[in-house]
């Protein structure tokens, strides 16, 4: 069985090692020639970029907000559709749909048909209430991205909570009610603890995917205006493909891996027990 693990290891470590190598050399696609050793210069350049701290902040804000939104609304929605009601099957099917939509389509449809300040549906809703339509991408760039990403991930969270609620002990619930526990009490002492494990799973998976949100930003705001909606991933992308600076981009990638590992360790401390 060792060969399988070894293959896996090799498959994943080769790009990583190459990235590490590039991170320590001067390598710009516009300046062909030898890759001279650069020491920590690439890292210094990346970290002192004026976009750097805003990008770190935006990355964390994006992850945090989307996770809070999806977990809170996911639980509420799951509670809402947990008991049978007319058309529950159809509701479930419709609810899960956004999860299957590719990020490119998702971003394009929100940018154009929903959030366009003139022709978009949201603009029309705003007008219907007598308000001035909002130019989402210009005035609320990060919020727009958050809405788009949260819309895509809400079904995932919701579905996992629905599945989990199915296994909640109904007799225990009944007993608690008989003993006079109110609805909020039943929620906080029975339902919520039951959802602890699925919550940690949702948080972990979303974190993995949200750290590298790219298409939703590239297609809607291109990280702007300025750096208002630039996250680490998009910043690296700008360095590599718009600035042609492979060395600095690789340093950024290494930084992102380190950030990811810090987050992961932090995460494992808090919720890791649930994953064993």
């Amino acid at each position: 069985m060792a060969p399988a693990v070894l293959t896996l290891f090799l498959w994943m470590i080769v790009p990583l090692v190459m990235t590490l190598y590039y991170a320590f050399v001067n390598y710009n696609l516009l300046e062909p020639g030898a890759h001279t050793f650069a020491g920590l210069n690439d890292f210094r350049y990346f970290v002192t970029d004026p976009d750097f701290w805003p990008a770190v902040w935006n990355t964390l804000l994006l992850i945090g907000t989307v996770i809070v939104i999806t977990v809170v609304f996911g639980v509420l929605l799951a509670l809402l559709v947990n008991e049978p009601f007319p058309g529950r099957g159809v509701v479930r099917v419709l609810l899960i749909s956004p999860f299957f939509v590719m990020p490119t389509v998702n971003a394009l449809l929100w940018k154009n048909m929903m959030m366009n300040p003139i022709y978009g549906v949201l603009a029309d809703v705003w007008r219907a209430f007598g308000a001035t339509p909002v130019d989402w991408m210009t005035n609320w760039p990060l919020l727009s991205v958050i809405i788009i990403v949260a819309w895509q991930w809400l079904p995932f969270a919701c579905l996992i909570f629905i599945t989990s609620l199915q296994s909640l002990d109904r007799e225990q619930m009944e007993a608690a009610r008989m003993d006079g526990a109110s609805a909020p009490q039943r929620f906080f002492y029975l339902t919520l603890p039951h959802l602890g494990r699925p919550m940690s799973v949702v948080i972990m998976i979303e974190m993995i995917f949200l750290l590298s949100v790219y298409a939703e930003i590239a297609i809607t705001t291109s990280g702007g205006p300025g750096n208002a909606s630039t996250n680490i991933t998009y910043m690296i992308y700008k360095q590599a493909l718009l600035g042609f600076n492979v060395g600095v981009a690789s340093a950024g990638a290494v930084f992102a891996v380190i950030l990811a590992n810090i987050v992961a360790v932090f995460l494992v401390r808090i919720i890791g027990k649930n994953l064993d």
């Binding site: 790009p15 299957f100 939509v101 154009n112 549906v121 993995i208 981009a249």
Partner: protein, 274 residues
């Protein structure tokens, strides 16, 4: 006997349907818009009732050969799913049943590589593809997708295999089962659901992947995500065609997802839901 729920059923039904329809609205709207003319698509206020046309769909096929992109999408997602399972199954198997001190660390490390933005590995991968003469080819995309999905696949399979009681394996070995028989007749039947959901998830992820497809392929091996990107004109006022293309790109995977949602969820829960 008090009512079972603090919200009466009718009210709850109403709220559930309203919320669901609101959440589904953007997708429904794309579907609707794909049957409009360009003028109807940007009509203010938005039109709900109109004379539908199928023109957009044939225009998309004409302009960008939908069928070619769809075939590429199908090949890459199915190919990477099978290749991924071929590697992930033995890996997860050995991790679950021949545990060492480092198993947990290796798993976490694998997952953390998944957190690395793909762009960080873009240049090395691009250079490798170029050297091997595999730019804009389906096999290259299959390999990259397999690679990027492996951590998640191994993790899901691992959580599944871990649930198999050691005693059963012990008994099978006592009866003289070799490794293959042990897997084929004991572990596989017990974890077939996990295997299915791992495959399904990989299929969905590969179908929807855009970053690698955009950077490694173009006209020959491009997937549907590449086709869609070609419709994002800066003005973005060709909404009817954009909608038609979007509908054609996401319809197969959404219908597929609807059919398999139960299986899929089982795997996505990572063993969190007993």
């Amino acid at each position: 006997m008090p009512p079972r729920n603090f919200l009466p059923v009718t009210l709850r039904t109403l709220v559930a349907w309203v919320v669901t329809l609101l959440l589904f609205f953007p997708l429904g709207w794309v579907f609707l818009t794909s049957f409009k003319t360009e003028l109807q698509a940007i009509h203010v206020p938005p039109l709900f009732v109109f004379h539908p046309t199928l023109e957009n769909f044939s225009l998309v096929q004409q302009r960008s050969d939908y069928l070619l992109f769809a075939r590429n999408s199908l090949y890459t997602s199915v190919g990477s799913t099978f290749l991924g399972l071929l590697i992930a199954v033995p890996a997860a198997y050995s991790m679950a049943f021949f545990k060492t001190r480092h198993t947990r660390d290796i798993l976490l490390w694998m997952l953390s590589t998944k957190m690395m933005p793909a762009v960080g590995a873009l240049i090395p991968v691009y250079v490798m593809c170029q050297t091997a003469g595999m730019l804009d080819s389906v096999p290259a995309l299959i390999i990259v997708y397999t690679l990027s999905n492996l951590p998640i696949m191994v993790w899901i399979l691992f959580t599944n295999y871990k649930e198999v009681p050691g005693e059963i394996l012990e008994a099978a070995r006592m009866d003289g089962a070799n490794l293959w028989k042990e897997f084929r007749h004991v572990v596989l039947p017990l974890t077939i659901g996990g295997l299915a959901s791992t495959g399904l998830l990989c299929l969905v992820l590969s179908w929807n992947e855009a970053f690698w497809a955009l950077n490694l392929t173009s006209a020959k091996a491009g997937t549907l995500a590449v086709m869609i990107a070609s419709y994002s004109s800066p003005e973005g006022l060709f909404w009817a065609k954009l909608s038609a293309a979007s509908t054609m790109a996401i319809a197969p995977i959404i219908v597929f997802g609807w059919l398999c949602q139960k299986q899929l969820v089982q795997g996505l829960t990572f063993g969190a839901v007993k």
